[in-house]
């Protein structure tokens, strides 16, 4: 009996420490600044334990029954602490308040444990033995927990499950206590039933833990997350609401299936339909296969080479049934050749000439992607362009990022190509800009492939008209050694995003 009691001291000490580490680590993970989080969580927790110890004096009779109830409370509050924190972060504006309230509550409960246990043991052992043994096992439990947390628990179980597991241990100690103190407790069967109920609840939590992290992510997006994966290069998230499928890369919207056809028809047809008998087409970026879908409407096209950095993207868009339905299985078409490579390096090392080149990269929001919007890159693109060919570049919004847009136009023009800027309205994005480049004058196509939902041949010339609020502005050329575009882009979008 003595040994069993002291083992339970060890276990509850471990539990107490784990809840504290979970709260600290989770706060560091979600808020950053780990020194601040660890320090304030530890401080709050210790202070709350002091309150708990102080309050223990007001607990009078029925010590064992109180102890069992206390353990069950700790099991519930501590066990579900990380779940609660995740949800608070996802759904509420007051994560910090929830954090400190929860840490305070657990601290008070944990602070009550040891004083109660010592009083229970007081009648059975000498005082000096109680003190010595309780503190010894308390230390040991803390040591075990502090070693297990970083080495086993976080890497193997994750935050949510680690807390739940130790909740189960607390509940286990409660159940064990009801057996050890059968005589003292007498006929209080309800305590044992409560233990079982808490254990069932926590086990259900363990099973559903996966969903909690997903749930937390879902709330960041308006719609249900149907696919989420972190590839080597980016976080890919796909959401769905009725017929609306949306792709987010690093939480930036890439397309909405409700209006992506506007973007992709505008990206491809003004240029490609104006190249007579285009046979070889190159797509840089565009791993979703939607631009390729539009290109495949041209029977003259023999081959489409798609160069996208991320195999996770091209695989997803070659296999996921809803995405394959959206891009018409374009990525597995026999005319299409998918290459997973960095576009700049690939262009540098390959010789091929193309009649139409599509440059469809994420916006130039940082110096890395910015390299793909420089004179050096466009010169390389121009070298791969056949005599009669055109290149088209997606060029952010001429409305919201006007200087950025005209900087891209100017940069492309710097390579010796003649530029033909145009734009189209895509509801999900707003007014969106593109620019065509080629070595010969641009003549709008007389006809477009059949089956388009947005563009008509008559409407194409209108795309090249810019209203007053999108007219050219003075903007510098974007070179590798200055990357002015990244600064333009940052400034302009900072004024719009709140």
């Amino acid at each position: 009996m003595a040994f069993a009691l002291f083992v339970s001291v060890l276990l509850i000490a471990a539990c107490g420490l784990i809840y504290e580490l979970v709260a600290s680590a989770l706060a560091s993970y979600l808020l950053g600044d780990s020194i601040m989080q660890f320090s304030t969580v530890i401080g709050t927790y210790l202070f709350a334990m002091g309150i708990g110890s102080h309050l223990s004096r007001y607990i009078g009779r029925g010590l064992v029954a109180r102890f069992v109830s206390l353990e069950l409370l700790v099991a519930l509050v501590g066990g579900f602490s990380s779940t609660a924190l995740f949800l608070a972060f996802a759904y509420t504006q007051s994560f910090r308040l929830a954090l400190y309230l929860l840490v305070g509550a657990i601290g008070i409960l944990v602070g009550l444990e040891i004083p109660l246990l010592m009083r229970i043991l007081r009648d059975r052992f000498t005082f000096k033995d109680v003190i010595a043994s309780v503190l010894t096992f308390d230390y040991l439990g803390a040591l075990a927990a502090s070693i297990a947390f970083p080495l086993i628990l976080v890497p193997r179980l994750g935050m949510v499950r680690s807390a739940l597991l130790f909740g189960l241990i607390n509940a286990g100690v409660a159940l064990w206590a009801t057996m050890l103190f059968k005589d003292t407790l007498g006929g209080r069967r309800y305590l044992r039933a409560a233990c079982v109920a808490v254990i069932v609840l926590l086990t259900m939590g363990m099973v559903g833990a996966e969903r909690v992290t997903n749930l937390a992510e879902t709330s960041l997006y308006a719609d249900d997350v149907i696919f989420a994966r972190t590839s080597r290069y980016q976080r890919i998230v796909l959401t769905a609401w009725r017929n609306d499928l949306r792709l987010f890369l690093n939480s930036h919207l890439q397309f909405s299936s409700r209006d992506e056809y506007r973007y992709h028809e505008a990206l491809i047809h003004p240029g490609l339909a104006a190249v007579p008998n285009a046979r070889h087409v190159l797509v840089l970026g565009g791993g979703d296969g939607l631009a390729v879908r539009e290109i495949l409407r041209y029977p003259s096209v023999d081959s489409v080479t798609l160069v996208d950095l991320d195999p996770a993207m091209t695989t997803l868009f070659s296999t996921h049934p809803r995405l394959v339905a959206l891009n018409g299985g374009s990525l597995t078409n026999r005319r299409v050749h998918v290459v997973n490579a960095d576009a700049f390096v690939w262009l540098d090392r390959n010789e091929g000439m193309y009649d139409f080149i599509v440059v469809d990269f994420p916006d130039p929001s940082n110096y890395s992607v910015g390299k793909l919007y420089t004179t050096a890159f466009y010169r390389l693109v121009a070298k791969h362009l056949s005599q009669n060919g055109y290149v088209v570049v997606q060029s952010t919004s001429p409305m919201f990022a006007r200087r950025s847009y005209w900087s891209i136009v100017r940069t492309l023009g710097e390579t010796g190509l003649t530029t033909f800027p145009y734009h189209a309205y895509v509801p999900s994005f707003g007014e969106w800009g593109f620019v065509l480049g080629g070595t010969r004058p641009y003549v709008p196509p007389e006809s477009l492939p059949s089956g388009l939902k947005f563009l008509t041949a008559d409407a194409v010339p209108e795309l090249f008209e810019f209203p007053a609020d999108m007219q050219p502005v003075v903007a510098a050329t974007n070179h590798l050694n200055d990357q002015v575009l990244v600064r333009y882009y940052e400034q302009e979008w900072a004024e719009i995003n709140r």
Binding site: A13, G16, L17, E20, L21, F38, I42, L46, M49, G50, S53, I114, P115, L135, D138, Y139, A142, L143, A145, S146, I147, F149, P150, L151, R232, Y233, L309, D342, A343, F344, V345, D348, N366, Y367, S368, V369, G370, K371, L372, T374, T375, A376, H479, L480, N481, D482, Q483, V486
Partner: protein, 492 residues
């Protein structure tokens, strides 16, 4: 109770931190620094008698930038009969480089400022190498944006000089300093190469940078740090020993609108490599010249060269050890250069990595990212070249530290220095290779303009090292090498 918990809480926090620090194995060691061969020459050790004699009109001693440039000039002037003798097994001198599976990286000098219109030799070389065509610089060789960042007050900020002017007074002093630089530039004496404009003496050369700052009433700590950083960066010496003339030269000799600098993953090793490929058949590595006898007889362990002229392009201090020559009175700064191979980028606060990354108030110079000129958008592994000058010590003390400190201790000191900005750096680095440069660069200390230059005593023995200029710059090395070649051509 509370006490026991508290102690464990801190122990647990330490455990999380410590696990990261001790788990990772670290590979690497000292790269070959030719120290033992150098010491054999210094100590006049006995060398084997050469087994063969080769007659050749011109011998170039040393395959650093000066020696390679002399060879480049000779070839361009139609002289193909010469040899270049290099002490170490790698040519390039301060432009040596290394390469591993992640990237090429420099072992010392890592950039050349874009030369102005008067730097005709540098422009001619870069035209030869395809870096300059029709007046346009190859954009892949110009340093990509972002170029510089500074770690200060717990975060990385863009630029080196633009943001450290924190207070209005700092900014005013930076502005006033810029005006001083403009005025200095207007005098026409701060040129690259120096021989085109530098006077034999100057009032500015009678005081240190620190004294000059005081005399001009500059008190901003930020400006003082910046100028001291500049001296340590270019000369390996502190502002308190650097000649004010040299300190101003650092700023006034550069073009005001520099679109560069020019840089490559292997730093100036890219230039060395290109020169070496043109001179390969005449270049003899691991051929230490241990003696030069009258009559232009040049001795290496296996060959005696009988020449008609010698270009001594090795550091001038070596001359008195191998031939009858007076001791050169130059002082040289020692350096330590470490290449850190990273499997991933460390965590950090503030703006993202730049080419040159400097930590405010660090005794070191920070690091340069070797993969910065990589065209890829996503670079997962990288190499950082870490530079440590020892401006706070005398060169002799620093050299002893270089010789006596273990690789492991250097690695720890590098982690400690960079750890301020990158707390989890140990987790990212898989190897550290270190090169100890005992005599990396000549120091332009107060009075350097008037120092006597060593001469060979005959017009056919010509010194060519950049130390003759008093500043260790690529352009000076090239100029001295070319000038020596021209002199030798005129004599033959």
């Amino acid at each position: 109770m509370t006490l026991s918990r508290r102690s464990f809480l801190f122990a647990s926090a330490a455990l999380i931190g410590l696990r990261r620090k001790t788990n990772r194995p670290l590979a690497g060691g000292f790269a070959d620094d030719n120290m033992s061969v150098g010491h054999r020459i210094r100590d006049a050790a006995s060398w084997p008698t050469p087994s063969r004699v080769v007659r050749t009109p011109i011998v170039i001693v040393g395959a650093g930038i000066a020696g390679l440039s002399a060879g480049w000039r000779l070839l361009k002037r139609g002289h193909s009969d010469f040899v270049i003798l290099e002490l170490g097994d790698q040519a390039g001198g301060n432009a040596r480089w290394g390469q591993n599976e992640v990237s090429a990286y420099p072992w010392a000098a890592h950039y050349v400022p874009v030369p102005g219109p008067n730097a005709t030799l540098v422009r001619e070389l870069f035209t030869d190498l395809g870096v300059l065509h029709n007046g346009v610089w190859e954009e892949r060789a110009l340093c990509f944006a972002p170029k510089e960042r500074l770690f200060i007050n717990g975060e990385w900020r863009p630029g080196l000089d633009s943001v450290i002017g924190l207070t209005g007074r700092d900014r005013a002093e930076f502005k006033r300093f810029d005006d001083e630089v403009l005025a200095a530039r207007a005098t026409g004496q701060f040129t690259i190469p120096m021989a085109l404009g530098a006077p034999a003496s100057s009032p500015l050369d009678t005081m240190s940078v620190t004294q000059w700052l005081a005399a001009k009433g500059f008190t901003s700590p930020a400006l003082r740090w910046y100028l001291d950083y500049a001296c340590r960066d270019d000369f390996g010496a502190s502002a308190s020993v650097t000649s004010a003339w040299a300190g101003l030269h650092y700023f006034a000799a550069r073009e005001p609108e520099d679109p560069g600098p020019l840089t490559w993953p292997e730093g100036n090793g890219w230039i060395a490599r290109a020169l070496i490929s043109r001179l390969e058949s005449r270049l003899h590595r691991s051929s230490p010249v241990y003696h030069i006898a009258p009559g232009y007889r040049v001795f290496t362990p296996d060959t005696e060269y009988r020449a008609e002229a010698v270009i001594f392009a090795a550091p001038s201090f070596l001359a008195s050890h191998i031939m009858d020559a007076p001791r050169a009175s130059y002082e040289y700064s020692p350096w330590l250069v470490a290449n850190l191979t990273l499997d991933r980028w460390p965590k950090e606060t503030g703006v993202g990595p730049a080419w040159d990354n400097v930590i405010f108030n660090s005794p070191a110079l920070g690091y340069v990212v070797a993969t910065h000129q990589d065209l890829r958008t996503n670079i997962e592994r990288t190499v950082w070249t870490y530079y440590r000058s020892f401006a706070e010590y005398t060169p002799a003390v620093a050299r002893r530290m270089l010789a006596e400190t273990s690789w492991r201790d250097w690695a720890d000191s590098i982690f400690a220095d960079l750890g301020e900005a990158h707390p989890d750096l140990r987790d990212c680095v898989s190897r550290i290779d270190i090169m100890r440069h005992a005599h990396a660069m000549v120091r332009p200390t107060v009075g350097f303009l008037g120092r006597p230059h060593p001469t060979g005593g005959t017009p056919r023995l010509v010194y060519a090292n950049s130390d003759l200029s008093g500043v260790s710059l690529f352009e000076e090395a090239q100029f001295r090498g070319v000038a020596a070649a021209d002199q030798v051509i005129a004599q033959l």
